[in-house]
């Protein structure tokens, strides 16, 4: 089976790259080894949140101070602004409504009530543009009775420490109470399925209208809208106060929604998305990759002119570590990682851990290397790349989208 481009991996970077290529008329197949880590995303994109433990307020400026091996530096500091605006446009086109700007971070509100720097946040989710001008003084935090994945007291305390008056209002509806009959499955994503109908939303609205009288702003755990933000809009239209959602523990509805919308958009553009298949090996011809074999297509490998490695970090199995080494499992391309296991990690769970910056080695065009030599038609994008740190630097989603766009442009030939 022959394609223009085959993308290994199915998350944010793969879809961003696939959409961009498909928009330019390319035949693209994405091989997605299960659902992606987008399902752990609480509804925000981060360009750059922190450098050496210091919060970044102006990410575009701060990019210049990153080390040379950071993916942003590889794709070129001067390109970041235009790629960021292109990324925002792509999200808009996919129907994902987000707000924010690349030159100044805003603050997203985490499930524990922490304000963390962010670039874009879903417009139905809580965000604060300026910590000295809060969006509301009196907040009603709607706490769903029996729901365990929203640490309400922590969230309330966090909001109070930002200067808001917070009232935690416990509530339930018949739909919610019946879902709680399940000892295990009252998750954000299940709530979203149970709160899809107008009548279910009406029952939530009645509770909010009855219980959140004195508030300027009503907050609800992010349990609405796994396909789009229509359920939120419907509920907002039924509630007489401004309403916002706050991220929960995963799997996150917001991430599920973004994944679904991106995948739908990619399909609409004619892309092929192979869910639940895994690239297992490649066939090389000198400095080119000619075909990729997948677990399910078996003896009919996917041939293409270009290949993109977007398989993610350890958690997505784009990188593997065993007793002896760190490696890239599909194609065996070079990785930037310490050889000695003792260096991968250190005691102290909140300390910076070296492994989080490991990834595949690339040249400045994001081309993968084997024994130091570039594979000319194989690019790596997103979390599989070395030199960045989604956890400590808050650059994961930004790197995913921007490297994906950069690689797509290279493939299309700017």
């Amino acid at each position: 089976m022959r394609m223009d481009t085959v993308i290994m991996g199915g998350g944010l970077s793969a879809l961003t790259c696939g959409i961009t290529l498909a928009k330019h008329g390319k035949r693209v197949t994405i091989v997605a080894s299960g659902q992606s880590t987008l399902l752990f995303n609480g509804g925000s994109m981060e360009l750059l949140g922190s450098i050496d433990g210091q919060e970044v307020t102006a990410p575009l400026e701060a990019v210049a101070t990153l080390p040379d091996n950071h993916p942003y530096r590889k794709i070129g500091t001067e390109r970041i602004a235009s790629l960021a605006s292109e990324a925002k446009q792509l999200l808009d086109d996919a129907g994902i409504n987000m707000e924010g700007r690349p030159d100044a971070n805003h603050w997203r509100i985490t499930p524990m009530g922490v304000a963390k720097p962010a670039w874009l946040t879903l417009s139905d989710h809580m965000r604060i543009d300026d910590l000295s001008h809060l969006p509301a003084k009196r907040v009603a935090l709607m706490a769903i009775r029996g729901y365990l994945d929203q640490p309400n007291s922590m969230l309330a305390q966090g909001l109070r420490s930002l200067g808001m008056e917070v009232k935690v209002v416990e509530f339930s509806t018949s739909d919610i109470t019946s879902l709680r009959r399940s000892p295990s499955e009252m998750r954000a994503t299940s709530l979203a399925k149970h709160l899809m109908s107008n009548s279910a939303l009406q029952r939530v609205a009645e509770q909010i209208n009855a219980l959140a009288n004195e508030a300027d702003l009503v907050l609800l755990p992010s349990v609405l809208g796994q396909n789009d933000d229509n359920d939120f809009r419907t509920l907002q239209s039924m509630v007489n106060k401004p309403l916002r959602l706050v991220a929960t523990l995963p799997p996150a509805v917001a991430g599920m929604r973004m994944q679904a919308q991106l995948r739908h958009y990619f399909r609409m553009l004619g892309g092929t998305y192979l869910m639940g298949d895994t690239a297992v090996s490649g066939t090389f011809d000198q400095d080119r990759l000619t075909a990729v074999t997948t677990a399910k297509l078996g003896d009919m490998p996917l041939k293409a002119d270009h290949f993109v490695l977007a398989t993610g970090s350890f958690v997505s199995r784009g990188l593997m570590a065993d007793y002896e080494r760190v490696y890239e499992p599909v194609l065996g391309v070079d990785v930037d990682a310490d050889a000695d296991r003792e260096c991968w990690t250190r005691f102290g769970v909140l300390n910076a851990q070296a492994y989080t910056q490991y990834g595949v080695a690339t040249d400045n065009s994001l081309r993968c290397l084997i024994e130091g030599k570039p594979i000319t038609n194989l690019r790596a994008i997103g979390s599989v790349l070395s030199g960045h740190d989604a956890i400590k630097m808050g650059d994961g989603t930004g790197v995913s989208m921007l490297t994906a766009l950069a690689a797509a442009h290279d493939i299309i030939g700017r």
Partner: protein
């Protein structure tokens, strides 16, 4: 908050140390009608009690080298099967001979077992492979013995519960800062409450030092010198049970020669290294220990080479130098009970140490006998006959549960035995699972907080297995921290507790952080730091190794 009533009472006996031995002593003393206070500086079963194999020895392991210990073990083994049913899994054990071992030793071993009263049946290697498919198939000999698996956390709590039901008071997170000494008599303890920072003095007619390796320091406070030789042992926990019988090597005890199925996991251990007493609080496992355990462990069960490891941990055996030879060349592995009145001319002070988790009840009996002798109490010991709470007949059973999905209830019965009846399960919210790996419900957490002295997540883990599954607390630690914070009305404390708990989990994961365990760690970091920003509200600096 501890009420002043507890501090202001004068007790017949104050027991220092909340491991199995202290708990067993407290139970025995309480059952004989004494008024009892037990104090523990950390949590119950934090020390050697919670840091071993979870093996209920038949005694076979000691038969050749230490017949006395072996006899003690088999007799206690039979007692525990009766009184601690809900803590014990009757797995039986194998002693296997590998091609590299001397098969001659097998007969020596069997003879020694027989002398100690331990049933030891030589079985055909093929039969061994049939009854325990995980065993190294190249074995050339096998002996079946009545080893079993035991949960030391459960065992300790059951003893404490029984002590409390018989009037004892027990305090965890209370450290002994000094002893109240009047001339040559110990009259009580000076305590620091780590819960609220208070310093208090509590009086008791006899003080029992049951602190394991830390007993050397308590003895020093009384002016007595005990020479202890800390022997450190490291162990690895695998993600699931590869074996359903205990497997030992049939040779002289050496590194990593026992594999025990414990609850949902299996544990290989141990190493054995003498370490300086100053380092007994550093229980981080080294790379060298991991390497040794793996290298030897795969000889017992080859599948360990391809089974996920979820944690590494270490403990310290409290070995005591013989009084005749303080150099340590003749170290006793047996039970040591010192009446310091006779030995050091210090009245009102007894040390119980040495021994094994396995013989905790006997140690409790010996210590209580010594206490009773001092107090003139003549009540007989009944701990060998009376079942522990949870192990009584009756109570809910697994077969009653057929109506709805009931993993949480089943798991709770497995953990708490007949006491599972006390766990609320009449409404959907109490039935909700907090820890999905181990089936811990909201109701069970409430029960643990209100009845089993839970003050933090690590306490909770020891009482319920929260966070002990393969994910090591991915979602459940936040859910449980949030519940504890609401029960205790302390949100900030709950966040710090959550971070400390994750740190404690990471301490065990880090030495084996490769493969799926590293993936797991990255996902957990992604959730708690990336998604939640826990690192922004908690500073773990300086308490990196809280436990």
């Amino acid at each position: 908050m501890v009420t002043n009533d507890i501090y202001n009472k004068e007790y017949d006996v104050i027991i220092v140390g909340g491991g199995a031995t202290g708990a067993g002593t407290a139970r025995d003393c309480a059952l004989r009608g004494l008024s009892v206070l037990l104090v523990e500086r950390n949590d119950y079963s934090t020390g050697a009690t919670g840091r071993n194999h979870g093996l209920m020895h038949s005694g076979a392991r000691y038969a050749v080298t230490d017949g006395e210990s072996a006899s003690e073990c088999i007799s206690e083994n039979m007692i525990l099967r009766r009184i601690a049913r809900h803590c014990v899994e009757e797995t039986d054990g194998l002693f296997i001979t590998l091609p590299e071992d001397d098969l001659q030793y097998q007969q020596t071993f069997v003879d020694a077992c027989q002398r100690a009263g331990i049933r030891a049946d030589i079985i055909d290697p093929a039969e061994a492979r049939r009854i325990e498919p995980a065993v190294n198939p190249s074995l050339i000999g096998a002996v079946r013995v009545p080893d079993a698996s035991i949960d030391p956390f459960r065992l300790t709590v059951a003893n404490l519960l029984d002590a409390r039901m018989h009037g004892a008071e027990t305090l965890n997170h209370h450290e002994v800062e000094g002893l109240i000494i009047n001339q040559n008599r110990v009259e009580g303890v000076k305590l620091l409450s780590k819960r609220d920072g208070r310093h208090v003095e509590v009086r008791g007619r006899v003080v029992v030092n049951a602190c394991g390796i830390w007993g050397q320091r308590i003895a020093q406070m009384a002016g007595a010198k005990i020479s202890m030789f800390p022997a450190r042992g490291a162990l690895l926990i695998f993600g699931h049970r590869v074996n359903n019988m205990v497997i030992n090597r049939c040779r002289k005890p050496a590194n990593a020669d026992i594999l025990v199925p414990d609850d949902t996991v299996c544990v290989i251990g141990t190493t054995s290294d003498h370490i300086p007493i100053e380092t007994v609080d550093d229980m981080r496992v080294t790379r060298e220990e991991v390497d040794v355990l793996l290298k030897e462990g795969v000889k017992i069960a080859p599948s360990l080479a391809t089974t996920r490891i979820i944690r590494a941990y270490a403990g310290v055996r409290p070995l005591v130098a013989s009084d005749d030879d303080p150099s340590g060349r003749s170290i006793s592995r047996g039970i040591v009970c010192l009446d310091h009145a006779k030995r050091d001319d210090i009245e009102g002070f007894i040390t119980i140490t040495g021994g094994k988790m396995m013989t905790y009840r006997l140690m409790g009996e010996i210590a209580t006998n010594a206490v009773c002798a001092k107090l003139g109490n003549t009540a007989p010991c009944v701990t060998a006959a009376q079942p522990l709470p949870g192990s009584e007949e009756g109570g809910p059973s697994q077969s009653d549960l057929t109506k709805r999905y009931s993993f949480g209830e089943r798991a709770a019965i497995g953990r708490h035995g007949s006491l599972a009846a006390r766990i609320e399960k009449d409404n959907d919210i109490d039935n909700a699972l907090v820890c999905e790996c181990e089936g811990v419900t909201v109701g069970e957490i409430k029960y643990a907080v209100h009845q089993l002295h839970v003050h933090n997540l690590v306490n909770l883990r020891r009482r319920t297995r929260v966070g002990m599954g393969t994910c090591q607390g991915k979602l459940c630690s936040c859910r449980a921290a949030s519940l504890l914070g609401e029960i205790n009305h302390d949100v900030k404390g709950a966040q710090e507790d959550l971070a400390a708990f994750l740190d404690e989990r990471w301490k065990g994961m880090r030495p084996v952080a490769w493969g799926d365990t590293l993936r797991e760690a990255q996902l957990t970091a992604h959730i708690y730091e990336g998604l939640c920003g826990l690192d922004k509200v908690v500073d773990l600096q300086g308490k990196e190794d809280a436990q």
